[in-house]
Amino acid sequence: MDRKEILTELKKVLAPYTESKEMLAGINEDTDLIKDLKINSANLVDIIIDAEAQYNIEIDFDAAEKMYNVGNCIDVISEKINKPA
């Protein structure tokens, strides 16, 4: 799965947690989940749990704290997907 495909799936993960649907449609790697998408911080863990289910990966403490913008989310997901079993 390349970064573009991960981004497409990530939009589905983020959709339930943002009111800014227009902003979501146009997100790029610099988009901040809280500042730009106005996602309440109380939903950040929900997003991590949903991403784990969406990509069939496990996101630990250290990786989770990097997931504050879209580019970092893609970095973490990409690394976990491509991690050898």
Partner: protein, 200 residues
């Protein structure tokens, strides 16, 4: 250090079933923190969100003086949590808790209130004022507007306005100058809350 930090969690807006799962709370609560949970004093769901709100509050408090700080809840460690009114058994009662939270060498005291509707926390430094209010709408724009009006009404400082610092925290402006009053805002669903340090 002049700063302010608070947070609020609307309990109708969280997924209680999900909160109860170790897969959820283990993302930001360490085993040492989990050992602080006393089920006679607080449900696991409320404990989890109380710790979350303490971590958010501490992050906001520290961010003002450390703009590069990233919210890493597992690195803000709640070290102590005591209930203040353990005799209240009425399920409608508000319970209050005091605790301490650590980030590196910095330890901050916090105060939390748990009601049936929300959990609110403030970093409890000297001369802090803190308040919570229910509003009619839950969209971001309404929350943002309501919390500003709420603060300005309570502050009773004619001519003052609220702007956002580039780092993201609110600042108070009067006569085109930033006032030396640290302010923090929080909102979730239909609840808004502010805290500020009263100027000496």
């Amino acid at each position: 250090m002049i700063s302010a930090g608070n947070d609020i969690v609307a309990l109708n807006a969280i997924d209680k079933q999900r909160t109860d799962q170790p897969a959820f709370y283990s993302k930001f609560i360490t085993p040492t923190e989990l050992a602080l949970h006393n089920s006679d004093e607080i449900t696991l769901v409320n404990f989890v969100w109380l710790l979350w709100s303490a971590k958010e509050s501490a992050y906001k408090y520290l961010k003002r003086n450390n703009p590069e700080l990233i919210f890493a809840p597992a690195k803000l460690i709640v070290q102590k949590l005591n209930i203040l009114n353990p005799l209240k058994t009425d399920e409608n009662a508000h319970n209050s808790y005091r605790g301490k939270i650590r980030k590196g060498d910095t330890v901050l005291p916090f105060l939390s209130i748990v009601t049936k509707e929300f959990i609110a926390t403030v970093i409890d430094q000297v001369d802090v004022r803190w308040s919570v209010k229910q509003i009619d709408a839950s969209d971001y724009e309404s929350q943002s507007k309501a919390v500003r009006i709420f603060l300005l009404n309570d502050l009773k400082m004619p001519g003052a306005s609220v702007e956002k610092h580039p780092v993201g925290y609110p600042i108070l402006i009067k006569d085109s100058k930033e006032l030396d009053i640290a302010v923090s805002f929080a909102h979730h669903d239909r609840y808004v809350s502010y805290s500020f340090q009263i100027p000496k």
